[in-house]
């Protein structure tokens, strides 16, 4: 199961002992009983019928009971994040949900690649959020269903062990291709950038963004991670203060270019989905910025359904990217 269902249907699954990943509005998640589930707040989803915003008492449920063995559910604060991957079974992975905007989010984004076993026991998951009309008024939450607790600044994690003949495969769909032009480099891992190097010349990133007319944020920075295109999306530009705030950090030692514009998100996702091997897919999420800029409400993109999130996790924090978890 990987779909929107009623609160009552979700509660029945939990009471039947199923192991669930749940996403939905806070008022609905608050009503779920204790059990084997983790969850996070978000009202945006991609379903088989298309992108949708849930305003009623439904939640998006992924039933992971038959995927493997649930080794444990827990929550970890900013200083405990090394246990996210480290605590997973040897042949397993960590399904993680982190609320947007807190220290846990920031620390995970900056440090995930350095955590023990980060590459042998992958972390996958998402950053919880709120309805965009509630930004600044309501905080994103995550839920540890085993203790029926919710948190504003901790990561909830389900450690999942797989059968010996299965491995977890983390795939991404990034619609964005880098421009051929300027190469940008950064001297520290940060969500907030002052100066950077553009083709080896030091300058304020905000000046460069304004000069290029990229303040709209539709074109992320695309980092070259050994051939993988990894985005850091623009949240805001403070031209006067000389800073640019990003939704994911940029890293030193990585070459970045701004992305080429994207015109038809839905068609591009459909094309990518048709090209990619989707066999064994068990879970997916996609980015709120793709949903917004691509105007995906009511549009189908093919492939897996899942929450539309404030950040995606595939080994580390990603932006404007679809993450697909498969068992192979």
């Amino acid at each position: 199961m990987n779909q929107l269902i009623s609160l009552q249907a979700a509660a029945d699954l939990i009471l039947a002992g199923r192991f669930l990943a749940v996403a939905g509005p806070e008022a609905v998640l608050d009503q779920l009983p204790a059990g084997r589930w983790i969850g996070g707040t978000i009202p945006y989803f991609m379903t088989e019928a298309g992108g949708t915003v849930v305003q009623d008492e439904r939640v998006f449920v992924t039933d992971l009971t038959d995927v493997g063995t649930l080794a444990g559910i827990g929550s970890f604060g900013p200083d405990e994040l090394a246990q996210v991957s480290g605590g997973a079974p040897d042949n397993g992975f960590a399904l993680v949900i982190i609320p947007a905007g807190g220290e846990t989010h920031r620390r995970f984004a900056a440090e995930a690649a350095a955590f023990p076993d980060a590459f042998v026991k992958p972390a996958v998951g998402w950053i919880s959020g709120v309805h965009l009309s509630d930004l600044g008024r309501v905080t994103p939450k995550v839920y540890d269903g085993s203790s029926r607790t919710k948190h504003e600044d901790r990561a909830v994690v389900a450690h999942i062990g797989l059968p010996a003949d299965k491995l977890v495969q983390v795939d991404i769909v990034n619609l964005f291709q880098p421009e051929d032009g300027d190469v940008l480099r950064f001297t520290e891992a940060s969500f907030e950038v002052g100066e950077c190097e553009v083709n080896g010349q030091k300058r304020r990133l905000s000046d460069y963004v304004v000069e290029r007319g990229l303040e709209h944020g539709r074109q992320p920075l695309v980092g070259d991670f050994a051939g993988a295109r990894i985005n850091a999306s623009l949240q805001s530009v403070n031209a006067q203060g000389g800073t640019v705030t990003l939704y994911a950090p940029v890293f030193p030692g990585v070459e970045y270019r701004f992305a080429q514009p994207q015109s038809d998100y839905a068609a591009s996702f459909q094309a990518e989905t048709a090209r990619q091997d989707q066999s064994g897919a068990i879970w997916s999420c996609n980015c709120i910025l793709n949903f917004l800029f691509g105007e995906l409400e009511g549009k189908r993109i093919g492939g897996m359904s899942g929450p539309i999130t404030f950040g995606e996790i595939g080994y580390q924090l990603l932006n404007q990217t679809q993450v697909i978890v498969r068992l192979v």
């Binding site: 590459f119 042998v120 795939d171 991670f225 050994a226 993988a228 890293f251 030692g253 595939g314 192979v328």
Partner: protein, 71 residues
């Protein structure tokens, strides 16, 4: 192709920079390469981590394993 033994010199060479030459489209491997490139860990620590990584993902990384001893 079987994975080279932990004492094979390829792991030291990979940890010393040769890993960056590996051609792969596997996301985890791409992140590993970039992380090793940026890491300040001593070479033996990196070599052990790279070996552990390929031992874990051996079944999925046939094309990459073929390159390891030639890089």
């Amino acid at each position: 192709m079987p994975i080279p033994t932990p004492d094979h010199p390829c792991w030291h060479k990979l940890a010393s920079g040769a890993l960056a030459k590996l051609r792969t489209e596997h996301l985890g491997t791409q992140f590993l390469i970039k992380n090793m490139e940026r890491s300040k860990d001593p070479v033996p620590v990196k070599a052990q981590a790279i070996h552990a990584y390929f031992a874990k993902w051996e079944r999925l990384l046939g094309a990459e394993l073929k390159q390891l001893t030639a890089l």
